[in-house]
């Protein structure tokens, strides 16, 4: 939808609606730590996706037919502007147990259990609203939008992401559930056949795998979302102010696994007696200024404006009650996790915090310091992490807007000791998490233009279809800036070094699964600029060089087959059996390469043999 159309539509809505209630970009993201899972579900790692698998196994806990792997993983697609570091560092993810997390979009799909006062939850399982799957024509009408703005129906399904002992995927609730049921069941068909059941009374999940494994998720992470709205009136120099608050469960953590043979693994978290966490962290603002025709690339149905809107600033703050793993027990094995509060993330005393909830000393955002694994009480493995903070490109007043945890080294001690030190590409430093200098996919592009209106790219899942390349916009892509902060080198004690070199993602064809509306619009904007193959956000691996004490080896990655770019734009796969409710526009795209040729050899005096 072009900008003019969008504005006209918004004005029409305003004209037609006497509802003054403000409803703004209703997206509630999960906590900083749970969010780290999302990129693994949207952009799987591995050579077919152009993303190298960078994984350091720490120890697998074994009890009969039950295996609980613990590993550290790095995702090298690039750092998005809004992206928060997990408790293991920016770009890093600790795989240890499991979690189900979600991005709440529009209404809370499980509102009936989160909002006790709600008599009629408006989420997907309860209101049989057909989602906007194709080109959204069906939903692009005044009646639909009026109902959305009135809070009568939901505009978008929440997206759920899961990680169960390393099995990752995503799903959403299709609107074909019995509203009177006490539970909701979803058939998961990849990576394995599982039935996911949400128990409305307990607010918990159970996954039953076809092989007989049962996974129970009961420990909940809560997010409080504050939306602040300020409308400045030019003539009267007055302002209108509004505030809306929502509280929702955004993650459920794995508490217990039972294997087909009856082996059990139990997971404990750092929670208080009520089962909730007293650790508090604040997410970065999702901020917008809507004052003129600069509103573009906005999923319009997320926005409902009061009648007399003039110059609106929208701020959204998310306060997370963070859940941290404490221990895993599995037969003879026990793994314990040790953490401490991240430095410099707390606002200085002389600056009033934007957080409505005060963080107690020691209970702010945490970092993972070490993991200890015991067998029958004896230590058999341990790992230790050392951190610093990334260089920030701007003066830092509020740490949590600029600071990101940087994993400097990892030591894994089993029968042998492995120590790795990590280097990242750092030149100018990472931008503020509120920066508007983003390309269409949310990666940093260096264009610090305050008028470049940017919605919540990281979470809203709207696709930048018809504006991939549009004149006069500052959302273009920049390879140099995307690489800022990305892992560039690993130094191993003993002399081995691994260097990573990146290129940008490209594709030449578009999967039939993606709507023709998207494809047509994309081609129009790209062909007019003679751009093919098409660009896609983020990085892909170009070359890996391994330096050993007496030998240097290289691997060059070729994505072109017979001189034609081999990438295909696809919808990153959903895991559920969606019963005919497709998902053509409800999810992120990614690029898949069917064949990648790797040329390897020996590097000698800078020459590749």
């Amino acid at each position: 939808m072009k900008r003019t159309h969008l504005l006209a539509f918004a004005l029409l809505i305003i004209y037609n609606s006497s509802i003054a209630q403000l409803r703004i970009d209703k997206v509630i993201p999960p906590s900083f730590n749970s969010t780290a899972l999302i990129k693994y579900c949207d952009h799987p790692v591995g050579i077919p996706y152009g993303i190298p698998k960078i994984k350091f196994p720490i120890r697998t806990l074994i009890n009969d037919d039950l295996f609980i792997p613990i590993s550290m993983n790095y995702h090298a697609i690039g750092i998005k502007v809004e992206e928060e570091a997990s408790w293991a560092g920016l770009g890093w993810y600790l795989d240890a147990g499991g979690v189900i997390t979600r991005i709440i979009r529009g209404e809370n799909d499980l509102g009936i259990v989160d909002e006790k006062e709600a008599t009629n939850a408006k989420g997907y399982p309860f209101e049989h609203i057909k989602p906007c799957f194709e080109d959204c024509n069906e939903n692009e009408n005044v009646e639909f939008h009026t109902k959305v703005c009135a809070g009568e129906i939901d505009s978008d399904p929440d997206i759920f992401f899961f990680n169960i002992l390393g099995m990752k995927g995503k799903f959403f609730l299709t609107p074909d559930h019995d509203p009177n049921s006490k539970s909701i069941s979803i058939e998961i068909i990849s990576p394995r056949n599982m039935t996911a059941t949400f128990n409305l009374k307990e607010n918990s999940w159970t996954f039953k795998e076809s092989r007989g494994f049962i996974y129970q998720f009961k420990t909940r992470e809560i997010t409080t979302n504050h939306n602040y709205y300020l409308d400045y009136k030019y003539e009267s120099h007055s302002a209108k102010f509004d505030h809306i608050k929502h509280i929702a469960t955004t993650s459920w953590y794995l508490d217990k696994v039972v294997s087909p043979n009856g082996a059990i693994a139990s997971f404990k978290y750092d929670t208080s007696v009520d089962g909730l966490s007293t650790y508090i962290s604040e997410g970065a603002y999702q901020k917008m200024n809507i004052n003129d025709g600069d509103v573009w690339d906005v999923h319009y149905s997320s926005y409902c404006f009061p009648e007399d809107i003039e110059n609106v600033q929208i701020n959204s703050i998310n306060i997370h009650q963070d859940i941290y793993p404490k221990s895993i027990s599995c037969g003879e094995y026990e793994a314990t996790f040790h953490k401490s509060e991240q430095e410099h993330m707390r606002p200085p005393e002389n600056i009033s915090t934007r957080t409505a909830q005060k963080q107690s000393i020691g209970y702010g955002r945490q970092q993972l310091d070490s993991i200890v694994v015991k067998q029958n009480g004896n230590i058999i493995a341990s790992s230790k992490m050392n951190y610093s903070m990334y260089k920030a490109s701007q003066t830092e007043s509020l740490g949590y807007l600029h600071r990101r945890l940087k994993l400097d080294s990892l030591t894994i001690e089993t029968k042998k000791v492995r120590k790795m030190a990590f280097e990242y590409k750092i030149t100018k430093g990472l931008p503020s998490k509120e920066s508007h200098a983003r390309d269409l996919w949310g990666f940093y592009n260096g264009e610090e233009d305050p008028h470049n209106i940017t919605p919540s790219d990281f979470y809203n899942y709207s696709q930048p279809e018809n504006v991939l390349h549009e004149d006069g916009k500052t959302k273009h892509y920049s390879l140099e800036n995307i690489q800022e902060g990305v892992l560039s080198k690993i130094n191993y004690v003993g002399g081995r070094k691994t260097e990573f070199y990146y290129d940008h993602q490209e594709f030449n064809t578009v999967s039939d699964e993606i709507s023709s509306h998207y494809t047509t619009k994309m081609k129009e904007s790209n062909y007019s600029h003679h751009i093919k193959p098409f660009l896609f956000g983020g990085l892909r691996i170009k070359s890996i060089i391994e330096h050993y004490p007496k030998k240097d080896l290289y691997k060059d990655f070729y994505y072109k087959i017979n001189d034609v770019e081999g990438g295909q734009l696809i919808i990153s796969h959903y895991s559920h059996d969606h019963h005919g409710y497709g998902h053509k526009t409800s999810g992120n795209h990614t690029v898949h390469y069917d064949n990648v040729r790797i040329k390897s050899g020996v590097l000698f005096n800078g020459h590749k043999f």
Partner: protein
Amino acid sequence: MKRFLATIFLLNLIYISQAQDMTSVFYDPRDGEEYETVLMEVKTDDGIESVLEWMSTNLNYETKESFCYNDYPEYCNVFGRLYSWRAAMEACPPGWHLPLTFEWELVMKKYGGKMKTGPAIKEGGESGLALKPAGFGEPNGAYIDIGVDGYYWKRDTHAATNPGTITIHSGVDYITDDHVDESHHNSVRCVKDYK
């Protein structure tokens, strides 16, 4: 052989229904080491379809007569260990075995035969097998060819004691299928047992 393959076919029907993304993970109970696996659909000359589960990373289980390239442990972390023939015959974990000649042939046949199969079975190839150029070791302690060629042990039958190798070469599409000197130290991939 037909009866043997029919058994594979029947036993693997269950796998076919579960193998949506055709990859999995195996944890070696002997040391907790993690191996990614690929479930590969193959077809015999007789048209019998089956699924074989192969490790898609080189075995890295420490045994007698297994070595790291240049005796440097970091090579093992990337390329797995290099096994003597005697060690290779016993190296795979319980429930897994050293690949048999006909199992390699089924894979090669699927991807165009010996002269063309290289790109598909090497890292990045469509088979997901991701064979690596791990080089080989000699009895005198010399190590050769890492980053260039990869040598993988095979045997003709479960009881056979004469060694064979499949060799991948950098920069070319063909592979070499040979019976070789058992004194070399080569890489090991394992295939899941069918019964």
